[in-house]
């Protein structure tokens, strides 16, 4: 976590990490904070965007992509992560799929006081599923995205990157 107040995570930084790690497909469901990232990804010829209507579908699609030799990444919000429990269990953990999930951390506050139950349950959910996760809030945290890709490859398991910069850098 950056100590620099007001530091942001730019969508350009995220896209650079995605490209650096050879991602071929982004399986995703938009949330209100990632519009600028969407526009960048859409313009990136090395990426194919696969939009889903419910986040659990993203797990099954990512499993099929990985089974076929592609390198997917999942981009969803924590609300959708909570919805995806059984698909995450069966399609990603059950089939040993090494995929990174970038999860918008709705309701995240640094001080722990939040009225948003999506944030209240997010890390508890990750602990329940024994999923490794890393928090990124600003461009200075970007190397953690690479750590997540390395951990997924090493463990052959899904690994989560929580994006704790919901309300500025991703949407302009």
């Amino acid at each position: 976590m950056s100590d620099k107040a007001g530091a942001t995570l730019s969508p350009e930084t995220v896209l650079a990490e995605i490209k650096r790690h050879g991602v071929t497909h982004i399986v995703w469901l938009p949330d209100s904070e990632t519009n600028w990232l969407y526009l960048l990804m859409k313009a990136e010829p090395s990426l194919r965007l696969v939009g889903v209507a419910r986040e659990g579908n993203a797990c099954a699609i990512a499993a099929g992509l990985a089974a076929g030799g592609a390198k997917p990444m999942i981009l969803i919000q924590n609300t959708g992560l909570l919805e995806s429990g059984d698909s995450l269990r069966g399609w990603l953990l059950g089939l040993n799929i090494p995929v990174v999930l970038m999860v918008g951390y709705r309701g995240w506050t640094r001080h722990g006081v939040t009225r948003d139950t999506a944030a209240v349950y997010t890390e508890r959910f990750l602990h329940a599923f024994n999923l490794a996760y890393y928090l990124v809030e600003s461009d200075a945290d970007a190397p953690r995205i690479g750590i997540a890709f390395a951990a997924a490859a090493r463990t052959q398991k899904p690994v989560v990157v929580l994006v704790g910069d919901e309300y500025h850098g991703f949407n302009r």
């Binding site: 209507a53 659990g56 499993a63 990985a66 592609a70």
Partner: protein, 205 residues
């Protein structure tokens, strides 16, 4: 093209339907879904079969879509089930949007949850799955309740560019044995299935 809205009593059995498909398989990847217990006894290319059993209900179509996108040079044939697709109808819109030309999406519709005792799926007798797929944007959809017209139409169906959706009304073959006493049809673990697929497709790592 037949209509499933008034199909009459289903006359097709799953094993007969799969037997009819077998000569047309070519080098397609086959995800047999709920047809796995029959298909594993018929197939002569197990390396290209992906019988996963039931990793999580409501996901076979998404898994098969992922395969089609990763391997656009090769046909992917899915034998989905109506209980599975009802859990995630939104996937039909995703498939239609991606428009994978190599995706052949067959739906085994026996009207019930056969592996849990045959309880009916919601609105079992009045759903037109081909109409739902067409409405979601699949360019080619079909429905059959009898084996003979299905067998006649199959070569032309497989000549169409995907995504193609084929709803098949099939005779329910209900399992009432306690799960622990049922014959285990899976001869490979899921890890072995995926490792064999990677070997067959020349995927390393």
């Amino acid at each position: 093209m037949a209509s499933i809205a008034d199909p009459g009593p289903a006359m097709m059995r799953t094993a007969d339907m799969l037997r009819a498909f077998l000569p047309h398989r070519g080098d397609a990847i086959v995800v047999p879904g709920r047809g796995g217990r029959y298909w594993t006894q018929l197939s002569d290319k197990p390396g290209l079969d992906v019988p996963l059993g039931d990793p999580a209900m409501g996901g076979h179509a998404g898994f098969a879509l992922g395969l089609t996108l990763a391997r656009p040079e090769r046909r992917v044939v899915l034998f989905d089930s109506e209980g599975d697709i009802l859990m995630s109808l939104g996937i039909l819109a995703t498939i239609a949007e991606q428009r994978p030309a190599n995706f052949y999406h067959f739906l085994i519709d026996n009207g019930c949850y056969a592996t849990t005792g045959g309880q009916p799926v919601p609105n079992a007798d009045r759903i037109a799955y081909d109409a739902i797929a067409r409405g979601a944007g699949y360019p080619h959809t079909y429905a059959f309740a009898d084996l003979e017209p299905f067998v006649r139409a199959l070569p032309a169906i497989l000549e169409r560019p995907g995504p193609v959706f084929v709803a098949l009304k099939l005779v329910p073959e209900i399992e009432n044995e306690p799960i622990g006493r049922r014959r285990r049809w899976q001869t490979r673990s899921r890890e072995e299935v995926l490792a064999d697929l990677h070997a067959a497709l020349g995927i390393s790592g």
